[in-house]
Point group: C2
Chain length 272, copies 2
Amino acid sequence: MGKWRVQALRPTRMDRSAEFSRWKAQCLSRADLSRKGSVDEDVVDLVQLLNAREQFFTTSSCAGRILLLDGGMNGFEVQKQNCCWLLVTHKPCVKEDVVVALKKASGDAVLKFEPLVLHVQCRQLQDAQLLHSVAVDSGFRNSGITVGKKGKTMLAVRSTHSLEVPLSHKGKLMVTEEYIDFLLNIANQKMEENKRRIGRFYNCLQHALERKTVTNSHPKFKEKNNPTGSPKKERKAAKAHGKCIPEENEKEMENDGCDDLGISVTLFPEDY
Amino acid sequence: MGKWRVQALRPTRMDRSAEFSRWKAQCLSRADLSRKGSVDEDVVDLVQLLNAREQFFTTSSCAGRILLLDGGMNGFEVQKQNCCWLLVTHKPCVKEDVVVALKKASGDAVLKFEPLVLHVQCRQLQDAQLLHSVAVDSGFRNSGITVGKKGKTMLAVRSTHSLEVPLSHKGKLMVTEEYIDFLLNIANQKMEENKRRIGRFYNCLQHALERKTVTNSHPKFKEKNNPTGSPKKERKAAKAHGKCIPEENEKEMENDGCDDLGISVTLFPEDY
């Protein structure tokens, strides 16, 4: 039984690694099927950094955008296939852009800011764990791993840092232009913060990958399973200098007042 | 080497299982540290269903709520620790509730609807995979697995189904009462939809756990690694009857227009 297990394990691992390389080659050789047809400028560096490592490849990405949708009945996602896109931009936008676009609204128009969404296929679970830890520590707190039934391992990088604001009902504008101006100021600031987080993610990932390389060549190295390599005290100090640390206050906001047994989600990759 | 691996594996697995049981006993015996001090009514059944299974226990939960925050400078999460909670409710709320609460606003008040957030610790990765698949198929598309460095495996159940609307700036109301009425109508509908998804999650989970039990007693049973047990065709049919199927249109909304190589996130747990 034990012998059988050892024999079974090794070829499986080799197959998995070769299979992953095939998937990666296939995926990266395919045409970009997105409407835009190219990787967003603000994530090009991050996408290239990931795709340059044999253990990762990106399957989809959106750097972050402001969009104005029409027809999402009361903003129900379930209705979204009937939506019309009135405006989409990956750059800061001004009141006039939205006011003009809103003139075409016939249903319930909703303005959204969507932060970075990035899907990265990972060769092994431990590769996804490292990437997950870095993503969370960079502020992408809602990131999570998916492991499919055939073992395909994917990290979805997500942030909590969004905005969803109904603006019109059955074509009738429900807010003032002054409010739209105020709202876009907030949306643009969120876009800037999102860019900063992408930059932090890029830097933290580079450090984590370097550390991992050092680590793997010294198996007993203490940081082996700690991608960001910063114990709590150092993390507190790092936080003061805007380095890679979880944004615990977000977690507090999310669960305070509800049933929370005090386990910090943002710290799982470090503490568990 | 091979022999060493087999010897090392077995006690580790046994330890892990015993360790999980200890964690579970500890966690469930602890006092509820949340502000509310109890599990939200709308998730009690789901939480009980999970905690009744030896492979799961919940570490935190919020059924979904409407909240009004003050002081989040331009809604920046990074500022949230300075926030004041003007209103929190797990029930539908009316304009008057918000209008009264807004009188206390001195900073930038933001109205949010937050859907279910549930954190479930899982004994093994495959337990998390099953739960993840069920969560995604029930509409909780942003759910994801976290695996800590010591192997603690957690599923975070999250939905995309939120709302975040700035209402006032430096204490000055930026919208009309008519808009607040319109907005709360949407927030209340989102709360209802969130409840439906919780119900769907409960039902899908029951079926998946029953199927798994049958499966485990018949190792060759085809559905072993397919928690929802529904091939694509059946899934399409099921969708028409409001059964457990991913809400693919949400995914389309999320990445259409950006770099998307066409892999559906909602289908990972099924397809990969």
